[in-house]
Point group: C2
């Protein structure tokens, strides 16, 4: 079964991201807007209870995440993904690193660039056109996310939450 670890922002922020995702993101209906902390990995049902305990202990050592989505950016030409760029912080890097090292499942495919995807699977022309528009509109949202979620994927590509973990650490 395929699992991932994500942080969902506030309803207000998700509603904002969805105004774009609805039109431009092929994964719009598969999961609500999120910041990926650990990319999709395979685990079976026996492994997952151990994994879940590890995530719980990591969450106990991390404070709620301060998030600042500061501009619209793109991964082009690597992929045609347009996203809300989240300012990198030691806090975000640390939780990503802890999840990566303590779970020790699979190498990360990419360098960790915290973001909320708002468009993907566009043609190159669509990408250039939409990226130009969205970059001008921009984004400037700050908030605190106090929990993270372990999610799993169904056969149709949609994601269900397996468990939530509150970030209750001091920093």
């Amino acid at each position: 079964m395929k699992y991932g670890i994500v942080a969902f922002p506030s309803k207000k922020f998700q509603d904002l991201a969805n105004t774009y995702r609805k039109r431009y993101d092929s994964h719009y209906s598969k999961i609500t807007p999120h910041l990926t902390l650990k990319e999709a990995f395979e685990a079976d049902e026996k492994e997952i209870s151990k994994i879940s305990k590890t995530i719980a202990s990591i969450a106990e050592n991390h404070a709620p995440l301060n998030i600042h989505a500061s501009k619209v950016s793109s991964f082009f030409p690597i992929t045609n993904v347009i996203y809300f760029k989240v300012e990198p912080t030691d806090q975000l890097n640390k939780i990503h690193q802890d999840l990566q090292q303590q779970l020790n499942i699979g190498e990360p495919k990419h360098v960790f660039i915290p973001h909320f995807t708002i468009a993907q699977d566009l043609t190159e022309t669509e990408h250039d056109d939409i990226y130009g528009q969205l970059r001008m509109i921009g984004v400037d949202e700050q908030e605190v996310i106090d929990r993270i979620h372990l999610v799993y994927q169904l056969e149709d590509g949609s994601w269900t939450t397996y468990e939530t973990y509150r970030l209750t650490g001091a920093e």
Copy 2:
């Protein structure tokens, strides 16, 4: 903000339900297959932390739920909803009742009939046609669900998990 309390079955069961929902359920992309334990209710962000604590204490007093989806049924003529009927049990009635009484938010709109919706918003002709087919195929799935989820709704109608609660009680 609109909240609800649901139980998600196993991935296998969700995949089965989605083979029908994909074609027949207008809410297919809004939430993955689930059994509703408490219908949608309004709460603000201050109220929800108290509500969440109450749900946590209820979850501690209930054991994992034994679910038996035994046949395909329909709420016609009340609504054109086709569903996997879940055999009523004292356990399911009790947790529904506890959530209703201890949260004390809104009267239930319907008698509690535990089910997984697989089709809705059909015309009467579609309903009759599809119900006939699905009733013949039937369903017979038994499983144990060991957690419940508090979910909230975004403006586009989709649902995100706010918190999960493990059912850790003795019975």
